[in-house]
């Protein structure tokens, strides 16, 4: 069984988040309390209950297979933090 510190570290990695030691300490206490609190759900006998996933059960809507208006390359790149002509520019991902 993991302790709260291990949970917080593992979940931070999965979430692509990092924390200072001070933040981690606050977090561990809060996280433990929140997890304990949400275990209230355990008080209900749910074995025979079907999970509810969607309120609106629409049929998938279909349309004719004709091109619709879409974003231009310039529009799609308008908010890019860094761009290079028609590409998103990213730091190199392959190590030497």
């Amino acid at each position: 069984m993991e302790n709260t510190q291990q949970i917080v570290e593992r979940v931070a990695e999965l979430s692509r988040l990092s924390f200072s030691e001070h933040e981690k300490n606050i977090f561990e206490v809060q996280f433990g309390k929140i997890l304990h609190y949400i275990q209230t759900i355990e008080n209900y006998d749910l074995a025979a209950v079907e999970p509810l996933t969607h309120i609106v059960t629409n049929q998938s809507s279909q349309r004719d297979d004709v091109p619709a208006e879409c974003l231009t390359v310039d529009e799609a790149l308008a908010n890019a933090p860094k761009r290079n002509e028609t590409f998103f520019k990213v730091p190199k991902v392959l190590q030497k």
Partner: protein, 474 residues
């Protein structure tokens, strides 16, 4: 507050114009900047839209929302304004398209005055979690206006808009409406398009409306509702006819379900007193009250926080620093751009919810938390079906307390989450719900009372709310 009907009457009489009203509002917003309720204001564009409304009025061809000054929460995409979600992550973001509800506002002649402050990514109940500073309560700057749609509520309460748009995932429209003494309406899930609303928890998120009164709310709903092919969860229903049916329940005999004593016992004395006064008023007016049986009320908040955070962790995974929004500076080759960007770009509450959501969805915990929460969600939904088979609507407080002080709950997430106690269940069940002003508490702050009814019975909800608002005002 500024009633849309008063403005229309004055313009019809020729005593003013929508352009003058808009100029007055712009001046008022400027004078009360300390409220910090707007993140951007569209001075020039608002004046142009007001002039167009005046022209259509002069030609006697007004559109449904002509002259209505509307503020929009900063998580609804707008081509002409930044859309920041009150986050450093989207500080510089300018959408290249309008949300469907924003497009429909413009198509019906509304004057979009600006974008409003909020809790970051709509996560919070106090308006304190904004990267651009907290929003102040219009009556007392030491108190929170509620959240997450803090700026939209304050804009209407301060008379700086006839109406505003917010979003309600667990009470983010109804709770600030109650704190600020105005109407806050969360339509049935699927009734207003979510296209262009920056997603927090997709199965719970719903665009909502703030206004001083029900007729303004209904007018706006009729103009903005209706199916939208761009939103896969949009209900395939015609626009509402809420204005035409507003008086349908004016004289009908009504059965209203009310909460049993044990559920309301943790409310503050001020809220309890107003709730009981309201019940007396309803009974005095011949309305039948029925003690509701509420199953699984202890599961409301835990179920909500499991599902909402799970969906949030998934939705907010898109903020990677690559395609749009903030990107952290990379100083050496070992830095992970995504982790750095997210750690610097998100505030603490957003991180807390991403972490919780990631945990409940992670291997080994999915069945214990996420699946159980979905099962509890079914219990909550079925419980409402049972209530509405016996009663026309459920009547309950919107919030357990009136507005609280800044900082009071900031370091205690569970205490903050509990301020949504009476609102989250409507999102879980998808049903329409509305908060209406029910007078002031002994402490001087407004108290809101809530009505909820069956899925897609939005016209019924607005008609009963109209009747109740008149009863509580008289």
């Amino acid at each position: 507050m500024r009633l849309f009907s008063d403005s229309c009457t004055a313009v019809n009489k020729g005593t003013t114009t929508f352009t003058t009203i808009t100029q007055d509002i712009l001046r008022d917003i400027d004078q009360r900047q300390s409220l910090n309720h707007f993140l951007s204001v569209g001075k020039d564009s608002a004046i142009v839209q007001a002039q167009q409304s005046d022209e259509r009025y002069a030609e006697e061809k007004p559109l449904a929302l002509d002259g209505m000054v509307v503020a929009v929460k900063d998580n609804l995409s707008t081509r002409n304004f930044p859309t920041t979600c009150a986050s450093k992550m989207l500080g510089e973001y300018r959408p290249v398209y309008d949300a469907t509800v924003v497009e429909r506002l413009a198509a019906h002649g509304a004057i979009i005055i600006g974008k409003t402050n909020m809790d970051e990514f709509a996560m919070g109940s106090s308006g304190e979690n904004s990267a651009f500073g907290k929003t102040l309560h219009p009556l007392n700057g030491d108190y929170v206006p509620g959240g997450s749609s803090s700026g939209s509520a304050v804009a209407v309460a301060a008379g700086h808009a006839h109406a505003s748009l917010g979003s309600d995932t667990g009470g983010s429209v109804r709770q600030p409406a109650a704190f600020c003494g105005i109407v806050g309406y969360k339509p049935s899930y699927g009734r207003l398009s979510r296209y262009g609303l920056v997603a927090f928890a997709s199965s719970l998120d719903q665009v909502g409306i703030f206004a001083p009164d029900i007729p303004t709310t209904a007018t706006m709903m009729d103009a903005l509702s209706g199916h939208d092919a761009n939103d896969a969860t949009s209900a395939n229903l015609a626009p509402t006819q809420a204005m035409a049916t507003l008086d349908e329940y004016a004289n009908k005999s009504l059965t209203i379900a009310v909460l049993p004593e044990e559920i309301i016992k943790d409310c503050s004395p001020e809220v309890l007193e107003v709730y009981k006064q309201c019940l007396d008023i309803l009974q005095d007016n011949g309305i039948t009250l029925l003690q509701a049986q509420i199953p699984a009320n202890d599961a409301w908040i835990p179920t909500y926080y499991v599902l909402a955070t799970a969906e949030a962790s998934s939705n907010l995974a898109r903020f990677d620093g690559i395609r749009y929004g903030f990107r952290a500076e990379i100083n050496n080759d070992d830095d992970d751009i995504m982790t750095l960007t997210r750690s610097q770009g998100f505030g603490m509450e957003v991180k807390r919810r991403i972490m919780l959501g990631t945990y409940v969805l992670s291997a080994g915990h999915y069945d214990a938390y996420y699946k159980k929460a979905q099962q509890a969600r079914r219990l909550i939904y079925d419980g409402y079906e049972h209530i509405f088979s016996q009663a026309d609507a459920l009547f309950l407080p919107t919030t357990p307390t009136t507005a609280f002080k800044f900082g009071e709950k900031l370091n205690d997430p569970i205490a903050m989450y509990l301020s949504d106690y009476f609102t989250v269940s409507a999102n879980l069940a998808g049903i329409p719900a509305i908060s209406i002003p029910a007078g002031n508490a002994a402490n001087g702050f407004p108290v809101g009372m809530q009505l909820q009814t069956s899925l897609f019975q939005d016209e019924r909800l607005l008609s009963i709310a109209h009747r109740f608002q008149q009863l509580f005002q008289s």
